[in-house]
């Protein structure tokens, strides 16, 4: 797999197709949804509350059971892989809340994440993270619970990057952060994209997400409603309507209402 960001013509890095997932088998929250991301690209997943965006990436990450559909990573089927093996396959996930170990130091948080690496490499990667996030380096012995919201987010992302994933998924990283911090987080994401990682970003902050995104998906009630280049969706009346709660102006709607 090449790191060049211009590999858009190449096959997608991660492809999730027809995903049916939910905490209970007979009550799926995600009902036949698909997304994909290429290397060096940011795919944004948007949609109103309850649309299933979070559940979708949690399902891909292995935290919510998938009862239908498939997830391919670099051509390999990782659909039913247990959550702790996804990281070895190259897929990292940053949850929205409780995404760091508050009772452990920054250093321990990072070292833990690299369990599958040999010790020397582990320390190397840790050093690399400290270079990328100097704020964390300064307080490496501090317990993560004492960090501010923005620093925690930083640590959560650093933790996910420890094993050099090919695909990085984030669940609403901007939640609870000031606009300045949101800009910093997204700047970091742009840097990560530049290194060839494929990023899947679930977001409520539509504006900021579409500004940085390359492609975008809109989910409603567990299904794909819309997709396209992020720049286009920014000005799309359909998306605006969805967020305001109206039915999209484009007729035929897929499926009955809730």
């Amino acid at each position: 797999m090449s790191g060049a960001a211009s590999e858009s013509a190449a096959a997608a890095l991660l492809v999730a197709r027809d995903i049916v997932a939910g905490y209970q088998r007979d009550l799926p929250i995600v009902n036949g949804t698909g997304i994909e991301v290429h290397a060096g690209e940011i795919a944004v997943v948007l949609g109103p509350n309850g649309a299933g965006k979070s559940t979708l990436i949690k399902a891909i990450a292995g935290l919510v059971p998938i009862s239908g559909g498939s997830v391919m990573l670099g051509g390999a089927d990782i659909t039913q892989l247990p959550a702790h093996r996804k990281i070895a396959a190259g897929l990292a996930f940053v949850p929205q809340t409780e995404n760091v170990f508050a009772t452990m130091t920054i250093e321990d948080n990072l070292l833990l994440a690299a369990a599958i690496l040999p010790k020397a490499r582990r320390v190397q990667r840790c050093q690399a993270m400290y270079e990328m996030f100097p704020d964390l380096a300064r307080q490496r012995r501090l317990s993560a619970g004492r960090l501010s919201g923005g620093q925690r987010q930083m640590l959560a992302v650093a933790r996910a990057l420890m094993v050099e994933p090919r695909v990085l998924m984030l669940d609403e990283p901007s939640a609870g952060l000031s606009p300045k911090l949101v800009a910093e987080v997204f700047a970091d994401l742009a840097r990560i994209r530049a290194s060839g990682v494929g990023i899947i970003l679930v977001e409520q902050n539509t504006r900021a997400a579409l500004a940085i995104g390359d492609r975008a998906y809109v989910l409603v009630e567990g299904r794909n409603r819309h997709e396209g280049a992020a720049a286009e969706l920014m000005n799309d009346p359909i998306v605006a309507a969805l967020y305001l709660g109206h039915r999209p102006p484009v007729a035929p709607s897929t499926g009955a209402s809730a």
Partner: protein
């Protein structure tokens, strides 16, 4: 034939007295979700109270009030209830597993007091000469056993019917609401802890009554009657019979006691007399295994409502489902 009837009456008497304890535990656990691992303690309090109130004067020990049996039994309910009120006020707000450990400790302390405070409880020698109801009939085994059975059956029956009533009443509904979802119940203006306390006190009072009844039938009580083995047996009965269900409580008591009583002679038959004591331990093993098996295979027990246990079973799924974007 008459012997068999007599034995049957004796068996049922004991089984029902355990059933009474189970009914008390059911209010606490089945209805209200309180995990009381100190059952033996409340049974002991009731037994000792009634014994102290109804026995004649004994040197070196408090008591000698020589009161009628009925007073003893009422006293038993009162002291057990009061002890529960005191203990409950302090501990009921603890989370379930801490409550389990605490009540476990309480029973140990109560047993400790029973063994050591000789002036109060007669120490390791216990209290004897507890008046039996229908003691006059002691000569005729059959009549005696039948009369005892009649008394226990009546008391248990009354308690059972009363509890059935209570379970269906608004008070019972509040208890179940608290058990299912405390926050929602609180929003209705119901003070959860106060209701829990009431359930705890009522359940313990019934346990105390059962303790008193048991004491009066045997005529003699000692601290070693109130070890954790009782707590274990009663829990096994409730789990096997069906928690949350009064009929289940009684059924479980009869079944487990039957298992216990049947295994006794079985062990006597298999093991030589010198080995009896250690062989008796196998009875507990058997009951423990059955109890765990039921929890694995059919957690609601034989008669229990699926609803009682399903809250615990689906709690994991429920918590996960709560976090959805």
């Amino acid at each position: 034939m008459l012997d068999l009837l007599g034995y049957g009456a004796f068996f049922l008497t004991t089984a029902l007295s355990y059933g009474l304890i189970c009914l008390g535990l059911n209010i606490q656990w089945g209805q209200t979700g309180l995990f009381n691992v100190g059952v033996a303690g409340f049974v002991a309090i009731g037994a000792y109270t009634s014994a102290l109130l109804t026995t004649p004067e004994t040197a070196g020990r408090l008591g000698g009030f020589d009161l009628p049996i009925a007073v003893g039994w009422l006293g038993a309910m009162l002291t057990s209830g009061l002890a529960a009120a005191f203990i409950g006020a302090i501990t009921l707000r603890l989370r379930a597993d801490y409550l389990a450990i605490t009540t476990f400790g309480i029973a140990i302390v109560i047993q400790l007091i029973a063994v050591n405070v000789q002036g109060l409880t007669g120490g390791p020698f216990g209290i004897g000469f507890i008046p039996r109801p229908f003691g006059v009939l002691a000569g005729n085994a059959l009549a005696f056993n039948l009369a005892n059975l009649a008394v226990v059956a009546v008391v248990t029956g009354i308690v059972f019917l009363a509890l059935q009533r209570v379970t269906r009443s608004p008070w019972g509904r509040v208890l179940r609401a608290i058990r299912e979802d405390e926050t929602a119940a609180a929003s209705l203006g119901k003070n959860a802890n106060f209701y829990r306390l009431q359930a705890f006190v009522l359940g313990s009072a019934i346990m105390g009554l059962a303790g008193a009844i048991q004491g009066h039938f045997i005529g003699f009580i000692a601290p070693e009657n109130y070890l954790s083995a009782i707590t274990f047996q009663v829990w096994a009965m409730l789990i096997i019979g069906g928690s949350g269900n009064n009929r289940g409580a009684l059924l479980g008591a009869v079944l487990v006691w039957a298992l216990w009583s049947a295994s006794g002679p079985l062990i006597s038959a298999i093991f030589p007399p010198e080995q009896q004591a250690r062989a008796a331990a196998l009875q507990i093993v058997a009951i423990g295994v059955v109890m765990v098996a039921i929890l694995l295979v059919r957690p609601r027990g034989l008669l229990g409502e699926a609803a009682t246990v399903s809250r615990h079973l689906d709690a994991a799924a429920g918590e996960a489902a709560d976090s959805e974007a």
